[in-house]
């Protein structure tokens, strides 16, 4: 408790409040703007890590994460354009509500639900983080190796529709992770001295998330304007409150655990929350026509999962979403390595960050309820300026990483790769996680083998490791079973043929 109070003391300094406000505003703005998500924004803002203190920068990034989640729901409701896969479900009922003149209520239940879920999620995080911390410190290199392997496999296998493409992304990422000096020799440097320290991970993040995305959108610009539904200040009536509070709590219960799981993400819990609310609702006839429960539940699930994501990130150094991956890059550029020892060694920083999550959440509510009509105005920015601006800041971010034009060339090459990945439906998350975890995977394996003097059986010598391998086996077995069942049901359709190829 004292630690938390210290955390609040650190989070509530004027500078840090300023950074939290900045983060929340930026996050909401980019959530609203088409074509920019929180992962891209944090990637573009990585240069601030070169001089802003770690605490302030991380507080700002947390604000962007939470703000982006909320901003995405605004456009889902007003425009029916879910920018992130996590707000697809919100658009289902939210846009219907807006069309029947209940935009203000939809925005309000989304904002307050996000606040409730974010706050409960942060409380859970604060309760769980100190208990998980000491547990993971005891884990040896073999367990850590197994956990990372599990994270890589599950992110690759569970997310996205095509397993083949998931693995392509993962191994491309691992290959990039190989670049640099290894045992005193250059590895995969293509003869460039600039690469001997490894690929600058900031450049990879900016290229894949920002440049690749901007190029992809630029090549497929939508030309017809969408119809925005005008909305005033969000508010809710008494009956809206009574219909919303239970979905908020249930949504939080779905969201947090899934966010904390490797590869859990926000898609599954928002979907589960929607299905649950539809089943439990006293007004099932309203579903599909704009039921407030269908906005309240998924929005809460969405934000709770964002809080949940931070648990494995802080305790194990495992990013489970794109935004968490980029925030991890930010940690690394401070020389901080989230993982077993991180929580105990950087207590002050961790608690300031946790406390600032409360601050960010409260700010989000205070700022966004009155500002909703202002956010809608952002949508009038002409696309040429929006995407030219992204290219401008991507270039700036990559250049300032090491002040070399070489990195800009690398940025362009990787940006084209990012474009190609979107063209061929190869997911970007496994790649970025592969780049981050690849070198650490090798490091842990090397350490484990050094201790055991080359005996590979050490890898399954710890209980935590065995559990990880069992879970991995279960995941793979489950997939194979699902595939076989699918094949047996109908062997002639092209669908199953495709599934087969994907595994």
């Amino acid at each position: 408790m004292d630690l938390l109070l210290d955390g609040f003391a650190a989070a509530l300094t004027p500078t840090n409040i300023l950074f939290a406000v900045l983060g929340v505003l930026l996050g909401t703005a980019v959530g609203v703007l088409p074509g920019i998500g929180p992962a891209m924004t944090v990637a573009l803002l990585l240069p601030v890590t070169y001089s802003v203190p770690a605490e302030s920068a991380l507080i700002m990034f947390a604000g962007i994460y939470y703000g982006g989640m909320y901003g995405g729901s605004t456009t889902s409701i007003l425009l029916n354009t879910p920018g992130e896969s996590s707000s697809v479900i919100t658009a289902l009922e939210g846009n219907k509500m807006a069309k029947t003149g209940r935009a203000a209520q939809a925005l309000a239940t989304a904002a307050i639900g996000s606040f409730v879920a974010g706050t409960i999620g942060t409380v859970l995080l604060i309760l769980l983080a100190p208990t998980v911390g000491p547990l993971v410190v005891k884990l040896g290199a073999p367990s850590y190796f197994a956990i990372m392997l599990l994270a890589l496999v599950s992110v690759t296998v569970v997310l996205g529709s095509s397993k083949l493409r998931g693995f392509i992304a993962l191994f491309l990422g691992l290959a990039m992770g190989l670049v640099g000096m290894s045992s005193g020799q250059p590895r995969m440097t293509f003869g460039f001295a600039e690469l001997s320290d490894g690929i600058e991970i900031v450049v990879v993040a900016v290229a894949i998330f920002a440049l690749g995305e901007a190029l992809w959108v630029a090549a497929h610009l939508r030309r017809t304007p969408l119809e925005i539904i005008p909305a005033g200040r969000p508010w809710m009536s008494r009956s809206d409150w009574s219909r919303s509070w239970k979905p908020w709590l249930r949504g939080t219960a779905f969201g947090f655990p899934f966010g904390a799981l490797p590869a859990g993400g926000a898609e599954i819990p928002t979907f589960l929350s929607y299905v649950t609310e539809r089943r439990l609702s006293k007004h099932p006839e309203e579903f599909g026509k704009g039921a407030i429960e269908g906005v309240a539940g998924p929005e809460a699930a969405n934000n709770a999962s964002a809080a949940g994501t931070l648990l494995p990130m802080l305790a194990l150094g495992l990013p489970t979403t794109a935004t968490a991956a980029v925030i991890l890059v930010a940690f690394e550029s401070y020389g901080l390595q989230p993982g077993p020892q991180f929580m105990t060694q950087n207590e002050e920083l961790v608690w300031a960050l946790l406390a600032s999550l409360f601050v960010a959440n409260a700010l989000l509510l205070v700022l966004n309820l009155p500002l909703a009509p202002v956010w809608a105005k952002l949508l009038r920015i002409p696309r040429p300026y929006l995407y030219a601006g992204i290219l401008f800041f991507a270039t700036l971010g990559a250049y300032s990483a090491s002040a070399s034009a070489f990195d800009l060339g690398l940025l362009l090459v990787l940006g084209v790769l990012g474009f190609a990945m979107r063209r061929f439906a190869i997911p970007v998350l496994p790649l970025i996680i592969g780049v981050i975890l690849g070198p650490r995977l090798e490091e842990q394996l090397s350490e484990a083998l050094d201790i055991s003097r080359g005996d590979y059986s050490t890898l399954w010598g710890e209980p935590a490791a065995i559990i990880c391998y069992l879970v991995m086996a279960l995941v793979v077995a489950g997939l194979v079973a699902a595939q076989l069942r699918g094949n047996r049901q109908d062997t002639r359709t092209p669908e199953t043929e495709k599934d087969e190829v994907h595994t």
Binding site: P34, L79, T81, R222, R223, T224, P225, L226, E227, I228, A376, L379, R380, I381, P382, R383, P384
Partner: protein
């Protein structure tokens, strides 16, 4: 032979609409409502909703004026208005004008100004009262 009006769903467009309507009844010609967008932003407040266009058309019909509507995504709004005017052999173009400073004109350009300068028929520039 018809009157072309550059319409936008705001006070300027509505002022232009009133005057265009009066002129169309006076001259007993048809009216072509042009509402186009460059489509370069996700939301364009000058591009009317389907519902609003329907309301305008209903109103014109009720007033007994033969009216058609042109809605499209175009590279340049002033050019689009002028093209429609040429196609329809317009006898008059009606535009709403707003006050804009010299810097504003330089940065934002002015559709009304270009229509007024480049049109081959008379242009009626209307200010909202």
């Amino acid at each position: 032979m018809s009157i072309v009006i550059a319409y936008s769903p705001d006070i300027y467009g509505r002022a232009a609409l009133e005057h265009a309507l009066a002129e169309a009844r006076l001259r007993e010609t048809s009216l072509v409502v042009v509402n186009v967008t460059r489509g370069d932003s996700l939301v364009d407040s000058h591009y009317a909703h389907e519902d609003e266009v329907q309301l305008v058309m209903d109103r014109l019909k009720a007033e007994g004026v033969d009216a058609t509507v042109r809605r499209d995504v175009v590279p340049d709004i002033a050019d689009a208005v002028l093209d429609v005017a040429a196609e329809e052999h317009a006898t008059l173009i009606v535009v709403g004008v707003r006050h804009r400073s010299a810097v504003g004109k330089m940065l934002l350009g002015s559709v009304a100004q270009r229509v007024i300068l480049d049109a081959s028929c008379p242009v009626l520039a209307v200010k909202p009262s």
